[in-house]
């Protein structure tokens, strides 16, 4: 902390101590103690091996969702920033609008869309997709299994977290000095080269914060995986929840899992930020 704590920062400092620092300490204590004897132990961490598949699934699905968000979000942000102020206002409102609705409500509505007799499958039925498949392959199907698949979980994450990808990228691109783009064109760069050599490297900070803001909540989500994955796609969030509230009651193990997840996420972010900074300074070829 470089700046002196002013009086106005005091409430936040109290907040920080009560709700961030102390819980972290409590969590650490839980993670390193035994559930029966409360003695110090590393057992919670060694026991975790059986959940390796949950770890892998969580990070894989979060990475996929983040990648999809990036692929959708970057072009969206880029074109938005290039439009007139009127268009930008409307587009921003439309992007934020779903965020003003309750998160669970949004996720439930995806359930009713993806269900076996849900909106999408009914639509496929109406346009004759299933009879087409039947006539082509001879296979009789009544619906696509969409709910309770990894894809549905990834879709839920993309849908919920996409705005967090678009907004930081959009604001970075919007603030780009237009003179730099003219300078690049002046020096002989065509549109593609202007994008690759100037816009893209200069918008990396926005991409990094977008990736962080999507990846972190994705990896720890539990409601999306339970509702759209239907229990078949257990993720770290669900696992931890079970340790605290569910049948497998073991707060010590839950705390240990949380800590490991936290460490991995922090490492990922540190690595990415390091890579990003290096990118900014390094010679782009």
């Amino acid at each position: 902390m470089k700046r002196k704590l002013s009086l106005f920062a005091l409430p936040y400092a109290v907040w920080l101590a009560l709700l961030v620092v102390i819980p972290l300490v409590i969590m650490a204590v839980y993670a390193f103690t035994d559930s029966d004897s409360s003695a110090a132990t590393l057992e919670n961490f060694t026991d975790m091996g059986v959940y390796a598949s949950v770890f892998v699934r969580s990070f894989r699905l979060a990475a996929i969702a983040t990648l999809i968000c990036l692929l959708i979000g970057y072009p969206a942000a880029y074109f938005m920033a290039g439009e007139g102020p009127g268009f930008q206002r409307v587009a921003l409102a439309l992007i934020m609008l779903p965020m003003w609705m309750n998160f669970l409500l949004r996720t439930y509505s995806w359930m009713s869309i993806l269900e076996n007799n849900g909106l999408l499958n009914q639509l496929f039925q109406k346009i004759g997709l299933f009879s087409l498949i039947a006539s082509v392959s001879g296979q009789e199907i009544e619906s696509f299994q969409m709910l309770r698949t990894p894809g549905a979980v990834a879709l839920g994450m993309v849908y919920n977290y996409l705005p967090f990808m678009i907004l930081p990228i959009y604001s970075v691109i919007l603030k780009l000095d237009k003179n730099l783009l003219e300078a690049a064109r002046d020096l002989g760069a065509n549109s593609a080269q202007v994008f690759l050599r100037v816009i893209l490297p200069l918008s990396l900070p926005g991409v990094l914060s977008g990736v962080t803001m999507v990846f972190v909540p994705s990896v720890s989500t539990f409601a999306i995986s339970r509702l759209l994955g239907g229990g078949t796609q257990m993720m770290l969030g669900d696992l931890i929840e079970q340790q605290f509230l569910g049948g497998a009651y073991n707060p010590h193990l839950g705390a240990a899992i949380s800590m490991v997840m936290m460490v991995i996420v922090v490492l990922c972010m540190a690595l990415m930020n390091h890579f990003g900074e290096g990118e900014e300074q390094a010679v782009m070829l």
Binding site: N179, E182, A183, R185, D186, L187, E280, Q281, V283, M284
Partner: protein
């Protein structure tokens, strides 16, 4: 004579119904240092942007080496620009900023339809050569935001010149530098221009900068060209009151051209060198402050009262009241405030101009002493009094 390189023909530009350029006609010679000079909002930067290809004119044509280039995008023009705030790439170091244009270049190659890239050795040689000529050797790996204003300026010039353009456009490139550095860079820029032997088109609102560096000055105001000429022409033979006032200091007096070589001011006849006006045509008369001789009252063509004296080092700036119209006179002789003096003007010190829309707007120094008092505070004014 050098040949014509760029021609602007009947250029008009408007934005939101507001005219920015009004029928600009201009040709620019190869290897010329041409300056577009005018107050802000006169259309000089717009003209530059049209030449660079960043702005498309509403009507009119741009010719480069005889070919119409209205529809040629900036990256295909043999023109490079030094931007007002340099626009250096913050994510690249000095070396890569300068190399940027070279990395974009393609040279004809029989094996490759798109042309071949420049080799790294070629790029390295040219970048280092360029950095050397702008005295930035040893700065290759510096981040551009770690450089001083003057250094950034030189990176911007190097980045543009390394591409060997036929024309370099400079948009108020010295505006962000302090006075001393600006003077040095003026000389430096002129040297570079002569060394590389290409056309420079320079935009500025600083008349002194324009006079120092240019072969040709184009004076613009309200989207129109007011005068084109060499610095000497523009200073000695301004076309109208706007030009006379914008370039240097001028006393501009209402007069009547009685006949060729005789002009009447304050009811007196003055011999001059101008002619070609109608008999008794009302005119504007320009008299530069340094062309006025102070003489004893009885020998003067006009007599007036000194109202203000400012010591400027090389000379005194004195304000003299001639029947309510105040003149600025620059002289090495001291005349105390309140004294009556006579003045004499040689025929070649009088320049007669046709009346224009600018007549009556400039050239009176009535407000001079007020401004002077404001600038210096009451003490300054008292100091003047003590001198007498």
């Amino acid at each position: 004579m050098s040949k014509e390189l760029i021609r602007l023909q009947n250029l008009c530009m408007a934005y939101d119904g507001e005219t920015i350029l009004n029928n600009i006609n201009l040709y620019i010679n190869d290897k010329e240092f041409l300056t577009l000079l005018g107050p802000s909002g006169c259309g000089k930067t717009t003209t530059l942007r049209i030449i660079g290809g960043f702005t498309t004119p509403v009507s009119g044509d741009v010719f480069f080496d005889g070919a119409r280039i209205n529809d040629v995008p900036p990256h295909k023009r043999q023109i490079n620009t030094v931007f007002q705030k340099y626009a250096l790439f913050p994510h690249l170091d000095v070396y890569e900023n300068v190399a940027f244009g070279l990395r974009m270049q393609r040279v004809p190659d029989p094996n490759n339809k798109r042309g071949a890239k420049l080799s790294n050795e070629e790029i390295d040689r040219r970048v280092m050569e360029m950095l050397e000529s702008v005295s930035l050797k040893g700065f290759e790996r510096r981040r551009v935001d770690a450089l001083s204003g003057g250094q950034q300026q030189r990176v911007a010039i190097a980045r543009a010149l390394v591409n060997r353009p036929k024309v370099l456009l400079l948009d108020e490139p010295l505006g962000a530098l302090d006075l001393k550095l600006r003077k040095d860079m003026q000389i430096e820029l002129k040297r570079i221009q002569q060394q590389v032997g290409i056309t420079f088109i320079y935009v500025t609102h600083d008349q002194e900068e324009a006079l120092t560096m240019s072969d040709t000055i184009v004076i613009m105001d309200k989207g129109s060209i007011q005068q084109i000429g060499t610095p000497e022409d523009i200073y000695n033979e301004p076309k109208n009151a706007f030009v006379a006032d914008f370039i240097g200091e001028s006393n501009i007096i209402d007069g009547v051209m009685v006949k060729d070589k005789v002009v009447k001011m304050y009811g007196r006849l003055f011999p001059c060198l101008d002619g070609g006006f109608a008999e008794n045509e009302p005119v504007d008369v320009v008299i530069r402050p340094e062309d006025i001789d102070i003489v004893p009252v009885e020998q003067g063509q006009l007599t007036g009262t000194v109202t203000n004296v400012t010591f400027k080092g090389m000379q005194y700036d004195i304000i003299v009241d001639f029947r309510g119209f105040k003149w600025l006179i620059q002289t090495t002789d001291h005349s105390p405030v309140g004294s009556k003096i006579g003045i004499k003007i040689d025929p070649d010190g009088i320049h007669v101009m046709k009346k224009s829309e600018y007549s009556g707007m400039f050239g009176d120094y009535s407000s001079f002493s007020d401004e002077y008092d404001e600038l210096n505070g009451a003490d300054g004014a008292e100091g003047q009094g003590d001198e007498t």
